[in-house]
C-alpha cells in the first residue's frame, strides 16, 4: 500500500488490480471492495480463504488478493465448512448470489448456519439469476419480469420472495445475521460497518456470520445503474428490511 499520507481513499490491498468482468454499475464491485477493506482493516488477508460461487461472481477469485476456492453451484457453505473444520485457525468467507444461496444452496446455508460453522457468508441478493441471463430467482420480487417470468413473477404459481435473513434468524444456534444495502453512499458506509463486524466476530471465533446485501443487476433488470439503485430503494428495501437480525454479541444470537 502506498504510504502517501495524502491518499484518503484507494483500492484496498486485499483487492487485486484486475478490471472486473462485471457490467457497468453492477454493485457486485462495491461489495467486493467492502469485503476487501474489512480484511485489510482487520489484518486478516494473509490467512483468509474466499469461496467463489457459481453466478456472476464466479470469477471473484480474480479480484481478491487472498487464497480462493471455486465452489459448485450453491455449495460454497459446504466447502467453507470442510475447510474451516480442517483449518480452524484460518478465516473463511463465502460470496454467494441469491440463486446460488437461496435456491440450489438452501440446504447447505441453513445447515451451516445451524451447526454454527465459524465462517462468514456475504449473500448478494440482486433478485435475479444474473450470470445465466436473467431468470427468476427465489428472491425475485412479485410482478418482476425475468426471462422465466416474462409477464412478471406470479406469486400464485411461484410463491413470494424468500427472505433468507428472516428464515435463518429462526435458528437457535447463536449467529450474526444482518441485511444491508449498497444503493446509496450512506447505505454503503453502513454496510461496511456490518460486514467488518461479521469478519471480526469470525476472527474472534464467535459464531456463524452472514450479511445479506441488496445489490443490483442493471443488465438483466434492463434499466440503468442509477435507476437500479433507485429500484432497490423503492421496491426491494420495503420487502427486505435492513438491519441486524441476530447479534451474537447482544445475546439475541
Amino acid at each position: 500500500m502506498s504510504n502517501d499520507a495524502n491518499i484518503i481513499f484507494e483500492r484496498p490491498t486485499a483487492m487485486s488490480d484486475r478490471i472486473t468482468h462485471y457490467c457497468p454499475g453492477c454493485t457486485h464491485g462495491v461489495i467486493h471492495r467492502l469485503v476487501a477493506e474489512s480484511l485489510d482493516e482487520l489484518g486478516l488477508r494473509e490467512r483468509t480463504v474466499g469461496v467463489a460461487p457459481v453466478g456472476c461472481s464466479v470469477l471473484a477469485y480474480n479480484y481478491f488478493n487472498c487464497d480462493f476456492m471455486e465452489a459448485a453451484h450453491g455449495r460454497a457453505p459446504a466447502l467453507a465448512t470442510g475447510f474451516k473444520r480442517t483449518r480452524p485457525d484460518m478465516i473463511v468467507f463465502t460470496y454467494q448470489g441469491d440463486g446460488d444461496l437461496a435456491s440450489i444452496g438452501m440446504g447447505e446455508i441453513v445447515h451451516s448456519a445451524n451447526r454454527g460453522e465459524k465462517f462468514t457468508t456475504i449473500f448478494v441478493n440482486n433478485a435475479i439469476y444474473g450470470m445465466t441471463g436473467g431468470q427468476m430467482a427465489p428472491t425475485t420480487m412479485p410482478l418482476q419480469k425475468t426471462t422465466t417470468s416474462p409477464s412478471g413473477r406470479n406469486v400464485e404459481l411461484t410463491g413470494y420472495p424468500i427472505r433468507m435473513v428472516e428464515l435463518l434468524s429462526t435458528l437457535k444456534t447463536p449467529s450474526f445475521i444482518a441485511r444491508v444495502g449498497v444503493f446509496s453512499p450512506m447505505h454503503i458506509v453502513q454496510a461496511k460497518k456490518i460486514i467488518k463486524k461479521a469478519f471480526r466476530l469470525q476472527a474472534e471465533n464467535k459464531c456463524f456470520t452472514m450479511v445479506e446485501v441488496l445489490s443490483t443487476c442493471p443488465t438483466n433488470w434492463g434499466i440503468t445503474p442509477i435507476a437500479s439503485t433507485k429500484w432497490v430503494a423503492s421496491d426491494m428495501e420495503p420487502y427486505y428490511p435492513l438491519g441486524v437480525f441476530k447479534d451474537y454479541e447482544e445475546g439475541e444470537g
Binding site: H21, Y22, C23, C56
Partner: protein, 183 residues
Amino acid sequence: MDKQIEVVFAGFGGQGVMTAGQLLAYTAMEEGKQVVWIPSYGPEMRGGTANCTVVVSDDRIGSPIINNPMSACVFNRPSLDKFGSLLRKDGLLLINSSLIDVKSGRDDLTETLIPANDIALKLGNPKVANMVMLAAYVAATDIVSFDTLGGMLDKKMGKKKELLDINHRAFEEGRKLIETIKA
C-alpha cells in the same frame, strides 16, 4: 457465390449484431439455402461484446462452428482485434469506421470501411447501424437478393411502420455505399 459462405457479425451488446445475423439467415433460408446461425455464447459474454456467425450453403452444412470465417462485419474495436486476425486469407472485412479508426493491418483481406453509425445517425436513429452494415455486406457479396431481404424485414418487423421505413432506408444507404465503392 461460393458453395458455402460464412460471415461473422461482431460488436458491443446492443449494437444489433445478433438481429442482423438472424435477418440474413432468415433471408437465405427463404431463398432455399441451407443456413446455420450460431451466437457466441462463450466466456466473452460478459463485458459487453457479442457476435454471431451465419453459414449459408447450397449443400448440407458440416461444421456449424467456423474457426476461420470467410467474412466479418465488425462494429467495434475489440471485435476488429479478434476477428481481424481470424479471417481466412482473401476474406472480406467490413469495418464500422464510425467507431473504429484503425484497420486489421493484414494485406490478404478485402477491407471496406462503413461509417455505419454516422449513416444511421443521419437517418435519424443510431440503432439502425446494424442494417446499414448488413446491407453493405449483402451488396458486397450478393449472398441474397435485396428483394428477399426487404421482404423478410417486413415479415419479421411487422407492425411498426415508422421503424420499418427507417430500416429500409438503412438498407438503401448501405447498398449505395458499396455500389459507390465498387463503381
